[in-house]
Amino acid sequence: MNTTISWLGLAVSLLLVAVAAGISWWQRLGLQRQILIAAARALAQLLLVGAALTLVISPGRSIWWSWLWVAAMLGYAATVARRRAPEVPNLLGLALASFGAAAVVTLGVLFGLHVFPLTGRTLVPIAGMMVGNSMTATVLAARRLTDELRDKRDEVEARLALGQPSRQAAAPYVRAALRAAMTPQIETTKATGLVFLPGAMTGLILAGAAPLQAVLVQAVVMFLVLAATATTTVVIALGLIRRLFTPDHRLMYLPAPADH
């Protein structure tokens, strides 16, 4: 059985937005406007993406359109990462490199080893989940590493003063940042199926897929996100070390976030 939603169904679901806005009004939170704008914006964005996706992944369309879509997604994700962590220097290029590396690794495994057939219908959503889910970890790793190196400057310079190369002097702080960035994803992976039913699986079941098939797809997606998180965070951390230290192993001046 396939589940479809009519326009009328969508309109009725707006009642749920009204519930959220109503609670805001009742509790005098002053968020009604924000809630309505958020809902309208999300709906408009989704409809636009839906229309674009229909064009990009429709049968017979060249796969290159899908690759172009993926490239645009990576670029947009990198700009979002930079906006979310303005205190991290040169984050745009590094974020682009880290999402690119994660794309090579994850899409390489999933499509190169034929876990999924390479079509627009699989490529675009898989890449979307990869980027979307590793974005938070990437920003977290970049911010945490920059904060650690700034706040523990004395300790880092004490290591440098003992003759340690910058990469070695930064290693404890890189480890701390990577652990902090990867742990939430590991916890989410552990709790999957027990505490919550993740998005891909829920979507497939709602769309009428057999639960076992939905579970298999979801497992693959979880592993994809794990690998993407690990790859993006390690690339961003190692790349940042190259930017935050000079070639002659000095730690550059790192302004506090408030200085921006």
Binding site: E155, A158, R159, A161, L162, P172, D248, R250
Partner: protein, 221 residues
């Protein structure tokens, strides 16, 4: 005689500009290799910057710094930093025991070598297995000195190392530093404490407003 006359650091019209301010302004000076050279001066005079130039934690915007006749930018910074050790104003213990801390400087050092380093700074070698952060301020600062000694430096840069210490640990640190100088280690000691400068220095330079006074005072005979 030659050893006493030898020059450790040579500053040739060295200028450092930070945020539009000339922290050091065309400083020219020779710092002898023998004994303890104190650089004194008020806060913000550029003393720490001068010291950090010596092991290339900072580089000048203009001018040249040389160590034992070689320009610093021609020396490998990692090798230089092991020859020219530094102790910072605030103790900088790393996580773990004293042995862990000392091993950062020399991972292959034997327990005997680590014990010797502690003995040289008047710390009990029995403390090797103790967590570094449980030490008192004075002990911590001497542990940092011992950690630096593990790299076998010829020169020590001390950046107000006793400014946070009480009189008794301050005196222990001063005695330790004098012993190390007597063993042939060149020491450059930055302080704003004139009384301390008088106690430990073989000669004193005064730094004020980014300018170093011309001729050092010979404090001790």
């Amino acid at each position: 005689m030659d050893a006493r006359r030898a020059v450790a650091f040579e500053f040739d019209r060295v200028t450092v500009v930070r945020a539009g301010r000339r922290v050091l302004d065309e400083v020219t000076a020779s710092i002898p290799a023998a004994g303890i050279t104190v650089v004194s001066g008020p806060s913000g005079a550029g003393k720490t910057t001068l010291l950090r130039l010596c092991n290339r934690l900072e580089v000048p915007d203009a001018g040249k710094v040389s160590y034992r006749g070689q320009p610093l930018d021609e020396l490998d910074p990692l090798t230089l930093r092991r020859r020219v050790g530094m102790v910072f104003q605030r103790p900088t213990p790393f996580p773990g025991t004293l042995a862990d801390n000392l091993a950062v400087a020399h991972p292959d050092a034997s327990t005997a070598e680590l014990s010797t380093a502690l003995t040289r700074v008047a710390l009990d070698p029995g403390l090797l297995g103790q967590e570094a952060r449980t030490l008192s301020g004075g002990e911590l600062q001497r542990m940092c000195l011992a950690r630096t000694l593990v790299t076998g430096p010829e020169t020590l840069l001390l950046d107000e190392p006793t400014s946070a210490l009480d009189a008794q640990p301050k005196q222990v640190f001063e005695t330790t530093a004098r012993d190390l100088a007597a063993q042939g280690i060149t020491i450059i000691w930055v302080t704003h404490d004139d009384a301390q400068a008088g106690r430990v220095a073989d000669r004193i330079y005064h730094l004020s407003g980014g300018h170093l006074s011309g001729t050092p005072t010979e404090a001790r005979s």
